[in-house]
């Protein structure tokens, strides 16, 4: 098991390295400059590029960047556009995105699982149909439509929830954003859980368990849920990253100062803010890879097939 974990960690670090390299190169070979060029003369731009080392060969720049990164700094640690420091701003934005993200994950997976299980247990009946309709709606309705709908009814028609996210009244003001963000999660998790449950319930080993005399909750707990939920975990994990790294549309609509908005601002100005874009890319990728790593290890713990093959190959 330790060797399995070590191998996974090594692979994750390698993956992250490759991602950083590709991101770094892609950003540098894009046309344009990282500064507000409209206010600068051609000489100024050239001078500024030399100052920041952007005239050096890409590989050398990459080595420089990596050595700074290993010392805990994203490039020179500031925006190339306006000199704003990266870390404090990034952390503040991450905090806002995480708060809303965690809430929507909790809500999305809980409701999704409940809906999926209910649907599977009532297969072919009214409740199943209702859950299915809900899932389809959840996948089909773009979340921004739902967001505006929520704002219209629960902030404008019935002025109960605030229009915008407010960090000082975090819980109350993040209900609408996280609810609307979790719509897709609810639908995906519900649909997937239902299908997995039904597949497991029709499996031979559940039939055998019934032939042993198991029934009802005991049967569900011991044989159905565990086997059905293992694959569901795989679907939830990437959704978790999506939710944590914020959704720019949601952040725009609810006025959240989050990482999604930060990313858009860094790209959509008149210059591409190299350091910001890279820093965000690294943070998003690390999150994704980290969660996948945790998932792999978790998988090893819940699923004996993986645990034991890992042991045998180790």
């Amino acid at each position: 098991m330790t060797k399995y974990v070590a191998k996974r960690i090594f692979m994750s670090v390698l993956t992250l390295f490759v991602i950083i390299f590709v991101l770094f190169v892609l950003i540098r070979i894009m046309p344009g400059n990282p500064f507000p060029v409209e206010r600068m003369s051609a000489e100024m731009i050239l001078q500024k590029r030399a100052e920041l080392g952007l005239d050096k060969p890409i590989l050398i720049q990459f080595v420089d960047y990596m050595s700074m990164l290993l010392q805990g700094s994203f490039g020179n640690g500031t925006s190339l556009y306006n000199g704003a420091p990266i870390k404090p701003i990034l952390l503040a934005c991450l905090e806002n995105s995480f708060k809303i993200g965690v809430l929507s994950i909790l809500f999305g997976t809980t409701v999704g699982l409940l809906l999926g299980i209910t649907a599977a247990l009532n297969r072919g009946k009214f409740l199943d149909g209702l859950c299915t309709v809900f899932s389809i709606l959840g996948v089909c309705i773009p979340s921004y439509v739902f967001m505006i709908f929520l704002q219209y009814f629960f902030s404008y028609k019935i002025p109960f929830f605030p229009y915008f996210f407010d960090p000082s009244r975090f819980l109350f003001s993040s209900i609408m954003p996280s609810l609307s963000l979790s719509l897709f999660t609810v639908a995906t998790v519900a649909r997937f859980t239902r299908n997995e449950m039904i597949e497991v319930m029709n499996s031979d080993y559940v039939k055998l368990a019934e032939a042993k005399g198991l029934y009802g909750f005991e049967l569900m707990r011991k044989h159905v849920l565990r086997n059905a939920l293992i694959p569901v975990v795989t679907v939830i994990a990437p959704l978790v990253v999506d939710l944590l790294t914020g959704a720019m549309v949601m952040e725009k609509i609810y006025g959240v100062n989050g990482v999604g908005k930060l990313m858009v601002d860094a790209i959509s100005g008149d210059g591409i803010d190299y350091n910001y874009v890279l820093a965000l890319g690294i943070v998003f990728s690390s999150l994704y890879i980290g969660i996948m790593l945790v998932l792999d290890i978790l998988y090893g713990i819940i699923d004996p097939r993986i645990r034991l093959t890992a042991k045998e190959t180790a």
């Binding site: 031979d204 055998l208 032939a211 198991l214 029934y215 086997n227 004996p304």
Partner: protein, 348 residues
């Protein structure tokens, strides 16, 4: 018959709701299982043999409806029990099942030991350690090597034959009276098949089990069965002792089945197969369901279903050919030769 009847099925009739419509899968099945004996249910895929036994074990899928019939186990009609009572009192303890595919019938996330003890812990007042000891004993009984080590294994660490032994150990864990084996050897290697069959026969003697085999393999039937029921399109069309079915078959369908068995002494080059395919029970046939594939079919076969004609105390068959007014027909030459050889070999 003066043996005690442990299980009797009367006029069982089952339909399935499917997307295409109602499928009348079981159309009046009657049979009896004497205690301690072995009954084989033979038929093509879709003839209803598995469904019948699933009904007996209370494991019918949700889309099945039992329209009529009774299933008596020691005088108790199982169809009147609630699902909960059935699971609590019958499944595992009275009637146990061995499924067709050992590769899929064990829970992949649970150790062998846990799966064997599960039933015991559920039904019997037994401590976890005692149950574990008994699991090891059971594994020894079914001939698995290193049973102490095996209880800690997961299913994927065992081979198909080993898994089927585990499934049998699970079935036997609560000392059932009836063991239903749904094609227990179909998914196994030929070399393993005989060993599993021997094992089941051996255990049957040791524990006084009554066994029901569901199979389409007449080789298996000849080896293990005392009684044979041949099923076709949701009905039993011939029933008798194993000798009666193998040496004196009366239904043209049974003839076809016997002819379709490979035989080394035959002079024919081609292996016989019954022409056509079984009727689709979505559209139930009028008359004898086998008529369309039967070269001996008569006019009445297309109009009316044949009743069971009694041939002896134990032997009966549902074909109009047995009606007193039916014309005498000649058995197919190949079959006649085969039966003669078989009778000679058995000194009958």
């Amino acid at each position: 018959m003066n043996e005690k009847i442990i299980l009797s099925v009367e006029n069982l009739d089952i339909t399935f709701r499917t997307n295409a419509g109602l499928v009348h899968a079981i159309r009046g099945v009657d049979f009896e299982l004497p205690a301690g004996k072995t009954l084989a249910l033979v038929g093509e895929s879709g003839s209803g043999k598995s469904v019948t036994m699933k009904a007996v074990a209370g494991l019918l899928d949700d889309n099945a409806t039992v329209n009529s019939g009774k299933i008596f186990y020691n005088g108790l009609d199982l169809l009147t029990l609630s699902k909960r009572d059935l699971r609590k009192k019958i499944n595992g303890q009275q009637i146990a099942m061995v499924f067709q595919d050992p590769m899929t019938s064990l829970d992949p996330t649970m150790t062998i030991g846990a799966q064997i003890t599960e039933g015991m812990l559920l039904h019997q007042k037994i401590s976890a350690t005692d149950a574990k000891d008994k699991a090891v004993e059971l594994l020894k009984l079914v001939g698995l090597n290193e049973p102490e080590k095996r209880v800690k294994n997961y299913p994927h660490q065992l081979s198909g034959g080993q898994r089927q032994r585990v499934v049998i150990a699970i079935a036997l864990s609560c000392e059932p009276k009836i063991l239903i084996c749904d094609e227990p050897t179909t998914a196994l290697d030929v070399t393993i098949q005989a060993r599993i069959l021997d094992l089941i026969q051996d255990l049957q003697k040791k524990m006084g089990l009554s066994v029901i085999y569901i199979t389409h393999d007449l080789g298996v039937v000849a080896k293990v069965a005392d009684f044979v029921n041949v099923m076709y399109a949701g009905k039993i069309i011939e029933a008798g002792t194993v000798d009666e079915i193998f040496y004196d078959p009366r239904h043209p369908y049974t003839w076809g089945l016997l002819l379709a068995m490979p035989d080394l002494d035959t002079t024919e080059d081609r292996l016989y197969s019954i022409p056509g395919s079984p009727p689709n029970l979505l559209h139930e046939p009028i008359g004898d369901a086998f008529a369309a594939r039967n070269r001996f079919a008569m006019k009445i076969d297309e109009r009316e279903q044949p009743p069971m004609f009694k041939i002896s105390e134990t032997h009966s068959a549902a074909t109009w050919l047995l009606h007193p007014d039916a014309p005498k027909i000649e058995l197919p030459r190949e079959l006649r030769l085969r039966l003669e050889r078989a009778r000679k070999a058995a000194n009958l």
